[in-house]
């Protein structure tokens, strides 16, 4: 019997050039099949039609530092509207020489948010830091002590107002939402039904109707002589609104808990309050962190609605610049700028939420 043994090494064939490298990638991702090739060509054509004119408008033909008059004679974007009115758009009617105060407040907020990104930092100390930070921010905005001139809440505006409404709105709505969620899961029919009615009622109506309620009806609810500033009334409306949505998210987390958790807590003699505080809520709230962040995102976007009840948030200050005859007609530039600010805020939060989701699913 003859045994055949391969003596020479087999020649290694390289894959054809058309299936590796740039060409291979293009072929398998852009031109696989006639339909995809057609799609690619159409898309490229559309992009070619859109992007170069946009770049020309936004960068090449644009002016960055000029008066409104100069802007009218050019074809490109007039970014001067932003450059000139930058401080008014961001800080509204806050006294001009005091605008470093909201700036520092915003920086403190961003610093705290940035530090809180890492879940390893979530300790008691961070909680204290947040409380101190919020007090300092409130003091910086309000003034009146240590030689800082006091600034009325009616003069707060721009970005600080937007951030204030969303951050305070969410922090105040959170405990209320958790209570409502617990109420909805409660065995006591009165409490359950009241929670259900509240949650469904609020989720069924648009935020704008609550803001109208805040601005038209809240003053009627209060005894004569007592009056809240409009900001606070809008804040109450936003809190009442956000709480219902948080309640639904938290309910999802509570329903995700197995019965065993309740039974185990009961078997070691914990009462309802301790069961919730030590066993159920820590786990349930951890599950719902990502959806909570998306509620924060929508609360952040929804604060723009206060324009309608004439609060001077970021959008309103922009519109007021646009109503100035010198800058009339440059809405595209101004709105694009505000859109970029909102986008940066929401996008970073959404990214963070995705990161958290990955981390949490890895742990479980």
């Amino acid at each position: 019997m003859e045994v055949y043994v391969q003596q020479k090494p087999v020649e290694v064939l390289k894959p054809p050039v058309t299936s590796i490298g740039v060409i291979g990638w293009v072929k398998s991702n852009l031109f696989n099949g006639w339909f995809n090739s057609l799609l690619t060509i159409i898309t490229l054509y559309l992009l070619w039609k859109v992007i170069p004119p946009f770049v020309r408008w936004a960068f090449i033909d644009s002016v960055w530092r000029s008066t409104g008059k100069v802007c009218r004679n050019i074809d490109g974007a007039c970014w001067s509207i932003i450059a000139t009115n930058f401080r008014f758009i961001l800080f509204g009617f806050f006294p001009y020489d005091q605008q470093w105060r909201p700036l520092i407040a915003i920086l403190i907020l961003f610093g705290l948010l940035f530090y809180s990104r890492d879940r390893n930092h979530w300790t008691k100390h961070l909680g204290y830091a947040w409380i101190i930070g919020l007090v300092v921010m409130g003091f910086l905005m309000r003034g009146g002590l240590f030689g800082l001139p006091s600034v009325e809440a009616t003069k707060w505006g721009g970005l600080p107002l937007t951030l204030l409404l969303s951050i305070f709105g969410l922090t105040a709505a959170y405990p209320l939402g958790v209570l409502l969620a617990l109420g909805r899961q409660s065995k006591m029919p009165t409490i359950r039904w009241m929670s259900v009615i509240y949650i469904e009622l609020i989720r069924g109506v648009p935020l704008i109707s609550l803001l109208f309620m805040g601005s038209f009806i809240f003053p009627l609810f209060l005894p004569e002589g007592m009056n809240f500033p409009t900001i606070l009334r809008a804040l109450v409306a936003i809190i009442l609104f956000t709480a219902a949505y948080i309640a639904e998210v938290v309910r999802g987390g509570l329903q995700g808990m197995s019965r065993g958790q309740y039974e185990a807590a009961e078997s070691i003699g914990l009462n309802y309050y301790l069961t919730m505080r030590l066993v159920i809520l820590p786990q349930a709230l951890k599950i719902v962190i990502p959806p909570t962040v998306s509620i924060l995102i929508s609360a952040f976007k929804d604060t723009s609605l206060v324009v309608i009840i004439a609060l001077w948030d970021l959008l309103k200050t922009t519109q007021s610049v646009l109503s100035n005859p010198q800058w009339m007609g440059f809405s595209r530039e101004a709105y694009l700028f505000v859109a970029i600010l909102y986008f940066l805020g929401c996008f970073s939060m959404a990214n963070y939420s995705r990161k958290l989701e990955k981390e949490l699913s890895r742990e479980n």
Partner: protein
């Protein structure tokens, strides 16, 4: 301690109920809690209502819905039913509600189409298309819808030219700062009968579907339902049109003086509201559609192909029923969001329900009634939607054996 416990245990063993003070009995305690909460809520309500009544009395505002019959004396830009400044507030509010429904209906249809396209594009194997779709989704989701409305509205009244220099991209379509004007078929008695034919065709399709399903269950024979339905829905109105001599005359808008005459005009407010709502909500719908398609496992498709189902049967009988179960609930909530967001029309001056109610409140001072009406109308929308949702969820619930 131990002794007492033993005694208690003996009592229980003997069948005698354990004596528990009422504040330690969970059942009685629950009742006390509930009464307490009710009292607190009642007190709060009493406090608020009594304050409100005193305030109203001081401002001498009449309560009640009597103002609905008074003359409104304000104009409404666009209306589906006859309306003038001499009509009552009640009629004005109906006009507003119809306008809301109009925006919501057209918006929902457009959103579904665009959202599905973007969602499918997001899953495309074409890198460019899928990246573009994800950029679209990300950007649109992260910009407040109100800002988008302002942006589109500004595009209309700032960037587009006056009617005299209106853009005319295709024959019969004009774009200018007065809105979008396009040609429509000239009114003809045939149209009424075509709508009638369409309704008859829909009823016929429903009956045929029922009959075909029954026959398939009994005999196993398959009837080409889809082709026959499509032929009926398209064919019957077309046939009516032909019977009436195929009227093709179009009502083309023409520039007369400073404005267009003829054709159908969509106001800038309506178009920008629709654009903003559709582009914003479509991003969310696209995510819903993508998640739904991805939720159906690959094995399902392979299994369906392996029992020799045709590709369209795989889609209709295996993939879609499972994907829709995941898609429909979040989809309805997005549709509801669109309807609720249409209330932002008040910011750009489209006369939707909230906007009309706002004007009414400002004129009459009946703010409580106005806000209550707004809430009631939107509650009706959302409650009927959730009723539909419950019915649907029950219908598609997996029957587990």
């Amino acid at each position: 301690m131990a002794k007492i416990t033993n005694e208690n245990a003996m009592q229980v063993a003997k069948g005698q109920p354990e004596k528990v003070p009422f504040w330690l009995d969970p059942k009685k305690r629950a009742i006390i809690y509930q009464i307490g909460v009710l009292c607190m809520v009642g007190l709060l309500a009493y406090y608020l209502v009594s304050n409100t009544l005193t305030n109203l009395e001081r401002q001498s505002v009449a309560t009640g819905f009597g103002f609905l019959n008074k003359e409104s004396s304000f104009e409404i830009g666009e209306s589906l039913i006859p309306y003038s400044a001499a009509s009552s507030y009640g009629r004005a509010l109906i006009v507003g509600a119809l306008n809301t429904l109009k925006v919501a209906f057209i918006g929902i249809v457009a959103t579904l189409i665009l959202g599905t396209i973007v969602g499918v594009a997001r899953l495309s194997t074409n890198w460019l298309v899928s990246k573009l779709a994800s950029v679209y989704i990300e950007v649109m989701q992260d910009i407040p819808v109100l800002l988008q409305l302002f942006f589109w509205y500004a595009i209309f009244y700032e960037t587009l030219p006056s009617p005299r220099q209106a853009l005319n991209p295709i024959y019969g379509l004009f774009l200018c700062n007065r809105g979008v004007i396009f040609a429509v078929p000239e009114s003809h008695p045939a149209h009424k009968y075509m709508i009638l034919a369409f309704i008859v065709a829909c009823a016929g399709v429903y009956l045929i579907r029922r009959w075909a399903r029954k026959r398939q269950e009994q005999t196993g024979k398959i009837f080409p339902v889809f082709r026959v339905s499509a032929a009926m829905i398209l064919g019957l109105p077309l046939l009516t049109w032909l019977i009436f001599g195929a009227p093709t005359k179009m009502d083309v808008p023409e520039l007369r003086g400073f404005n267009f005459e003829g054709g159908l005009t969509l106001s800038p407010e309506f178009i920008s509201l629709l654009l903003g709502l559709v582009l914003y909500t479509a991003a969310f719908v696209a995510e819903v559609v993508r998640a739904g398609i991805q939720s159906v496992g690959k094995g399902q498709r392979e299994a369906a192909l392996s029992i020799a189902l045709r590709p369209n049967q795989v889609l209709n009988l295996v993939i879609l029923p499972q994907a829709l179960r995941v898609i429909i609930p979040p989809l309805t909530s997005q549709m509801l969001n669109l309807t609720k967001n249409s209330s932002l029309a008040v910011a750009i001056g489209f006369p939707d329900f909230v906007s009309v109610a706002n004007t009414t409140m400002n004129q009459t001072g009946q703010s409580i009634e106005g806000v209550a009406l707004i809430m009631a109308v939107y509650l009706i929308f959302s409650l009927s939607t959730s009723a539909f949702m419950n019915w649907y969820n029950k219908k598609v619930k997996l029957v587990e054996r």
